[in-house]
């Protein structure tokens, strides 16, 4: 693949047919349009957020300035996404292993499809499910946790009586990112070179030893990349968190009390319909922060996954 920006040296210019010229132009134009749109996302968000960045502190909702406004949101966003990942990644790896190596061949594909179905469920439905089904179920276990292991900061309590806590939001997020991570990891496992697997089995390895010797090392960077993709998704998830979490601005590690920090995305969804003036600009500024974080996370994820692609050539 030669890639140089200048036109290839040609002895004589061949005429291009008008059809070709137009078609190539339109295709290239579409590609450029995407770049322009993405630049537009950044520019418009900055323009609309600008009044909030320059406004005096007392004009910002809460009256103490932009940083004080955004900080609890950012904290809530990060803690919910990271903890959701802590739950989802081991599960996703286990599910990918189950489908690739443990399930009978004939139904493996169907099982993969079932997990993909989870990804297709709209987030509003997860929101309804989370607040109506999952939240009530967690009330009793949560109070048990606060009584018996309350010394762990996460379970300090007092337990919420509605169950609409950070813990439930985290579980819902974990369920939502699970299929995304599973899909990428499964892809990597199915690409594990047959040769390595057979080599391991031929020296008398059990199935688990074969997985540890061949599959896991091969899939490691995919697991990392997939986790980052899941993180990006969890950071930006809006409706499910907005509906499940009964938020009250406050920075706390306590996952089961009724005092919960909101997330950026959920806060936008909740406040937007009533926001005006600087309030609106502030929301967009918080959206800009979210955009920057997810952008960074996704770029790292892509870099990690693509680096694995380079190694594929060696096999």
């Amino acid at each position: 693949m030669a890639s140089s920006t200048e036109a290839p040296p040609r002895r004589n210019r061949t005429p291009r047919r008008p059809g070709d010229r137009i078609f190539a132009g339109v295709s290239t134009g579409s590609g450029v349009l995407i770049l322009v749109a993405l630049a537009g996302v950044a520019v418009f968000l900055v323009t609309e957020a600008w009044p909030a960045l320059t406004a005096p502190a007392e004009d910002i909702p809460g009256g103490e300035g932009l940083v004080v406004y955004i900080w609890p949101l950012l904290f809530g966003t990060l803690i919910s996404a990271v903890l959701a990942l802590v739950i989802a990644v081991p599960l996703a790896v286990a599910i990918a292993l189950f489908i690739t190596y443990y399930a009978p061949r004939s139904i493996a594909k169907a099982l993969g499809y079932i997990i993909d179905l989870l990804a297709a469920v709209p987030s509003i439905i997860f929101g309804l499910w989370g607040m109506n089904v999952l939240a009530p179920v967690t009330v009793d276990p949560a109070s048990w946790l606060s009584e018996h292991v309350g010394w762990i900061p996460f379970f300090a309590g007092p337990a919420s009586s509605t169950g609409r806590t950070m813990l439930v939001a985290i579980i819902v997020l974990a369920v939502m990112v699970l299929p995304i991570i599973t899909a990428v990891v499964r892809e990597a496992f199915t690409q594990t070179p047959q040769l390595h697997q057979e080599a391991a089995l031929a020296i008398g390895a059990t199935r688990w030893e074969m997985i540890r010797m061949a599959a896991l090392p091969f899939g490691r960077s995919s697991i990392i990349g997939a986790s980052m993709l899941g993180l990006g998704r969890a950071l930006g998830e809006t409706m499910a968190v907005a509906m499940v979490l009964s938020a009250s601005a406050g920075v706390t590690f306590d996952l089961i009390s009724s005092e919960n920090p909101p997330t950026i995305a959920a806060n936008i969804a909740l406040q937007f319909p009533e926001a005006t003036g600087v309030g609106m600009n502030t929301l967009i500024a918080s959206g800009l922060v979210l955009f920057a974080i997810t952008l960074a996370v996704n770029m790292i994820a892509r870099a990690v996954i693509n680096r694995r692609k380079d190694f594929d050539g060696a096999n």
Partner: protein, 259 residues
């Protein structure tokens, strides 16, 4: 139909890499010209310069001239699409269009170029092309089935029918039998001998017996050395090349001493 091609001092490049150097030859009309030589010596590359398929590779280019009758194929303002309209090509692996029926594959050259023909004329043309390719009897009952359902040899003859349906002057064949069994090969070789009464045919082949059987003129390509570009060693009447070649390298190759 059938035209003469004059190649003069042709250098073929992939970007900065010189692949084939200084080829000059005359390809006679209504005859079969075979190009033989070891792998990687540039005979297929050369063949693809004859209908300007070579330049589809990014940054590939040529220097020198290829003149068909009086037209320089690489002259300024020459549209490669028009070149390919007159010089057809058959590939190493049969490549019928999978989304089209047998009938549509043969008609593809005209249909894709948006030529509107009366249904009866189109039927005639398809039948004539398939008959020329000795395929008509085998497929006439399933013209509207996908072409990918045919056997390898049939597919290759379908590709030949597709190439001659646009009535080209010249037919280029890039190892057309290398993926076929002996019986299908025989069928294609017979076909070539029939087709040369109407077309100029250039064939690249690894099979020296095949070159001896079907061609009137044979050109021998070889590498000038390890890592050096390929060249045309000599070209002459087939009987002469296979009995008393002028060059030592040709004799070595033909007698199987290398390659």
């Amino acid at each position: 139909m059938a035209k003469r091609i004059e190649v003069k001092d042709l250098d073929i490049y992939y970007d900065k890499f010189l692949a084939v150097q200084g080829v000059s030859m005359t390809i006679q009309p209504r005859s079969v010209t075979a190009l033989i030589g070891p792998s990687g010596c540039g005979k297929s590359t050369f063949l693809r310069t004859l209908n300007r398929m070579h330049e589809l590779v990014p940054n590939a280019r040529v220097e020198g001239s290829v003149v068909m009758d009086d037209d320089d194929l690489y002259g300024p303002n020459v549209d490669p699409v028009n070149v390919r309209r007159q010089i057809g090509m058959v590939f190493q692996r049969a490549n019928p269009f999978p989304t089209m029926s047998i009938y549509d594959n043969v008609a593809a050259g005209l249909k894709l170029n948006n030529k509107r023909l009366k249904k009866s004329d189109m039927d005639d043309l398809v039948e004539r092309s398939l008959k020329s390719a000795n395929l008509w009897e085998e497929v006439k009952d399933r013209l509207h089935k996908p072409g990918s359902g045919l056997s390898g040899g049939q597919q290759q003859r379908l590709c030949i029918a597709r190439a001659i349906a646009v009535q080209p002057e010249v037919l280029l064949m890039d190892e057309p039998c290398s993926a076929l069994d002996p019986i299908s090969t025989q069928a294609i070789e017979d076909l070539m001998l029939e087709l040369k009464t109407n077309y100029t045919i250039v064939i690249v082949t690894h099979n020296m017996q095949q070159a001896a059987r079907v061609s009137d003129t044979t050109g021998f390509f070889n590498l000038q050395g390890v890592g050096k570009p390929g060249e045309l060693v000599e070209i002459d009447e087939t009987t002469k090349i296979f009995s008393t070649p002028a060059q030592k390298a040709t004799e070595d190759y033909i007698s199987g001493r290398f390659g």
